[in-house]
Symmetry: C3
Subunit: 344 residues, 3 copies
C-alpha cells in the first residue's frame, strides 16, 4: 500500500507540516529511512538524530520543529506510527479456505472466509469464525470455539472446550487449556485431580510463543479483553487476568490468583497462588508477589515491596559486609568506652 502524507495524517488525526503530497510506502527506523519512508521520534533523546534522518516524512509531537522536513504532527507519535504501519501493510491476505492435508472432523463447523493450512487438525464440535487463519500444524481439540479474524500460528494447541474470542493472536506453540497442576496427597503418592474446567480468552488478546494457559480445575481460567501476554509465560488454573493488562516474558502466575485491569507484570516476575492484585499495578522485572496488592501500586523484589523502598535497599545491599564490620568495630569501641567509664 501507498498513501500521501495528507491521507496518513487524516488516518491518525494529525496534521502535516511540509509537503502533504509526498508519497509514503513503508515505515523505517530513524537510521534507515529513505525515499518513500516514514519514521517517528517519540523519545526526546533521539531528537538530535533528526538532522541525519533521510526519511521522506517524520512523525513528531507539536513541540518539535524541523524546518525543511515533512512532519506529521501527532499527539502520540508512537501510536500514530503503529497505525500507519498497520495501514501500509494492507489488509489480511485473501482467505484460502481449507488447504490440502488438513484433518477436519465432520462435526466441526468452519465459517466461510477462513484459511486453514496443511497439517492442521480440527476436532468434533469445534467452531471457527470467519476471517480466522490457522497456520500449518495447529491442533484444535473437540468443542473448541475460536472467533473471527484470529491469527493462530503453527504449533498452537487449543485443548477441549476452550473458548477464544475475536481478533485474538496466538503466537507459535502457545498452549491453551493444558491441565492445571492439581494433585491430592495420598500417603507419599499423589492422586491427580481431574482438571475439567476450561480457558476463556476474550477479544483482542495476544498470547506469546510457548506460553501456557492451564484450564481450570472446575470453572474457568479467564484472560479478559485486550490482555497482551509475551512468550514463555505460565498462567495456572483458575487464574483471572483483568482487561488490558500486559504480562512480559517468563512471568509465572500461580493457581486461582486474580490480577486486575491495566497492570504491567515485568519479565520473570511471579505471583503466588490465591492472591488478588488490584488495578493499574506495576510489578518490576523479577518481582515476586506473595501477598494481596491494592490498586496503583509499583512493587519490586522478593517478597515484593514498594519499588522505591526496594531500590534504596537494593543499592545498600552491596554495603552489607562493610556495615557488619563497622557494627563490630562500634561494639568494640563502645565496650571500651563503657569500660573506661567504669574505670573512671
Amino acid at each position: 500500500m501507498a498513501a500521501t502524507l495528507r491521507d496518513l495524517a487524516e488516518l491518525v488525526g494529525g496534521t502535516v507540516v511540509g509537503n502533504p503530497e509526498v508519497c509514503i510506502r513503508r515505515v523505517a527506523s530513524i537510521d534507515a529511512g529513505g525515499e518513500g519512508d516514514i519514521t517517528f521520534v517519540s523519545n526526546p533523546k533521539y531528537l538530535p538524530r533528526l538532522h541525519e534522518c533521510s526519511a521522506a516524512a517524520i512523525i513528531v509531537t507539536s513541540a518539535v520543529q524541523a524546518p525543511g522536513r515533512n512532519l506529521l504532527i501527532a499527539a502520540n507519535p508512537y501510536l500514530a506510527f503503529a497505525k500507519i504501519q498497520a495501514f501500509l501493510q494492507g489488509p489480511m491476505p485473501a482467505p484460502q479456505g481449507i488447504l490440502p492435508g488438513v484433518h477436519v472432523h465432520p462435526g466441526a463447523v468452519l465459517a466461510e472466509g477462513i484459511t486453514v493450512h496443511p497439517g492442521c487438525v480440527i476436532g468434533d464440535g469445534a467452531k471457527i469464525g470467519k476471517g480466522t487463519i490457522l497456520y500449518p500444524g495447529v491442533v484444535v481439540y473437540d468443542n473448541v470455539v475460536i472467533g473471527e479474524d484470529c491469527i493462530v500460528h503453527s504449533g498452537v494447541v487449543v485443548r477441549e472446550g476452550c473458548r477464544i474470542g475475536n481478533r485474538v493472536v496466538l503466537q507459535p506453540s502457545a498452549i491453551i487449556g493444558s491441565d492445571g497442576f492439581g494433585f491430592a496427597p495420598d500417603g507419599e503418592r499423589y492422586f491427580k485431580i481431574p482438571q475439567v474446567g476450561i480457558v476463556v480468552i476474550e477479544d483482542d488478546v495476544e498470547i506469546g510463543a510457548a506460553t501456557c494457559i492451564d484450564r481450570a480445575a472446575l470453572g474457568v481460567t479467564r484472560i479478559r479483553q485486550g490482555v497482551k501476554i509475551d512468550n514463555l509465560v505460565q498462567i495456572a488454573h483458575n487464574v483471572e487476568i483483568g482487561e488490558n493488562t500486559l504480562i512480559v516474558s517468563q512471568v509465572g502466575i500461580a493457581g486461582s490468583s486474580r490480577v486486575g485491569r491495566h497492570c504491567t507484570l515485568g519479565g520473570q516476575s511471579g505471583i503466588a497462588g490465591h492472591l488478588t492484585v488490584g488495578d493499574n499495578v506495576m510489578i518490576a522485572g523479577r518481582g515476586g508477589v506473595s501477598n494481596n496488592v491494592g490498586d496503583n501500586q509499583v512493587l519490586s523484589g522478593l517478597p515484593a515491596i514498594p519499588h522505591k523502598t526496594w531500590l534504596k535497599a537494593a543499592m545498600t545491599f552491596a554495603k552489607l559486609p562493610e556495615m557488619r564490620k563497622e557494627l563490630h568495630q562500634l561494639k568494640k569501641k563502645l565496650a571500651e568506652i563503657a569500660m573506661q567509664g567504669k574505670e573512671n
Copy 2:
C-alpha cells in the same frame, strides 16, 4: 456416570451421614453446587460457606457437623473428592485405533487398543503399549518405548531411544530427549559434545506443557515413579528426580544434579549442577540451591538458606537504608564521645 452417595462412600472408604440414596452425577465447587452435585470442604476456613452451599452432598471430615445435609465423611476430603471425580468421569474413551493421516514406520510396533490421532508420526523401532492415546501431531522418534495407558497430548516430541513407562501423562508440547547443553571450549569457539544418552520416565509420571527433559550426555536422565512436573520446567542432562517429587512451573535443574524422593520444588526455583538434594526437601518459590542439601530441609532465597532464617532476613531487607543511616549516626556520636573523653 452417576452413583448413589452410598456407592461413592464405599469407593473412597468413607461413611454417609444423611440420605445414602441421593444420586450424584457431577462434582462442583462449593459455590456452584446444585442437585446431583457433590462438593467438599477440606480447608476449615471454607466451613462457614457450608450453610449457603446447595450441593446434594458434601465431603467433610468427621469433625464437621451439618444437621439436615447429606455428608460423606472421609479422612481426607480432598483426596476423596478427586477419586469421586475420576470415577464420575467414567473410563477412558474407547480406543479408535490408527486414524487417517498418521505416519507409522513399518518397523514400529503398536499394541492393540491404542488411539493415534491424525498428524502423528511414529518412527522405526518405536513401541507403544495398549490403551495409550496419542493426540494429533505427536512425534515419536526411532526406538522410543511408550508404555500402556499413557496420554500424550498434541505437540509432544519424544526423541530417539527414550523410554516412557505406564500411565504417564504428557501435556501439550512437552519435549522428551532434547540434546543436553554440552560444549567443550576449543579456543574461543565451542565444540558440541554428542549427547548420546536417553531419558527414562517411569510409571505414573506427569510432565507439564512445554517442559523440556534433556537426554543424558552418556547414560540416563531419569524421572522416577510418581513424579509430577508442571509447565515450562527445564531438566538438564543426566539429572535424576526421586519418586513422588513435585516440581512446580518454571523450575530449572542444571546438569547431573540428583533430587531425592517426595520433595517439592516451588515455582521458578533453581538447582545448580552436580548437586545432591535429599528426600522430603522443600524449596520455596524462586529459591536457588547452590550447595548439596540434606533430607527434610525447607529452604528459600539465593543462595538458598533455611526458610525461617530467610524470611526474617527478607523482612529486614527494606530496613537496610535506615540501618545504614543509623550506623553512620552512631559512628559520629561515638567519635564525639571519644573526643570528649580525650578532652576530659
Copy 3:
C-alpha cells in the same frame, strides 16, 4: 565406526602411551568403560577413579601417569573426547529426500541431499540447503532461508522471511521469528506495533528446545556465529548476541539489548531492554542486568554487581536480623553513655 587408538590420537593431535593398536568402538563414562571403550579424565578430582576404570583407553593430559594403561595424551582431554565421540558416531545418515506426507509449496526451492520427514510444511519462496534434515512436523513459513547441513528437530517453527545459516541445530519446538512484544498505549488499550523485521541466525549456532527468538519490529534480531543457546530462553525483538556466546536455560533478554562476544549468561539470568553488555562477560545464574556492562566483567545478583561483592553481601544477608538487633542495642547503650556524660 571403530578405530585404533593411534588413529584417534592422530585425529585429535595427541600422542599414545601404551598400546596404539587397541581398537576403540565407543565412548563411555569413567565408571562404565569396558573393552572397546575410551573415556577421559579432565577434572583432577576424578583422577583417583582411574585405578577402578576398566576402559580400553583413557584420554588424559601429559601430567597424568598410569603405568600399564593405554593413555591418549591430549592438551584438552574433554575436547579430544568430544571430537572422538563425534568421529565414532560416524557421518550423518544418508539423505532420504522428501518423504511422504510432506507439504512443499511449489515456490519453495529444496537442495539435493536433504531429508524432510512426514508432517513437515514448507512455504512459498522458502530455500533449504543441501544436507539439511527436517524431522517430522517442522513448519517453515514463506521466504525462509535455511542453509546447509542443519538439523531441525520436530515442532520447530521458523516464521516468514527468517534466515538461518549453515550447520545450525534447532532443538525440538524452538521458535524462530515469533512477533516481538510491541504495543503502543492508546488510552487504556494497546495497539499492536506490526513486527515486520526478521531473525538472522548465523552459522554454527545451536538453539535449545522451546526457546523463542522474536523477529525484529523493524530490521533484524541477530544471533551471531557460534552462539549456543539452551532450552526455554527468551530473546526479544531487535536483540543482538555476539559470536560464541553461551546462554544457559531460562534466560530472558529484553528488547534491543546487545550482548558481546564470548559471554556466558547463567541459568535464569535476565538482561533488561536497550542495554549493551561487553565481550567476555559472565552473568551468574539468576543475575539480573539493569545497566550497561563493560568487557570482562563477572556479575551476580539483582541488580547485578561484581560477583565477589555480591557473594560477600549474600553471605551476610542471613545476619540482617541479628545486625538490626545489635544496632538497636548499640543505640540504647550509646544513649545511656551520652546521658551519663551529661550527668557528669
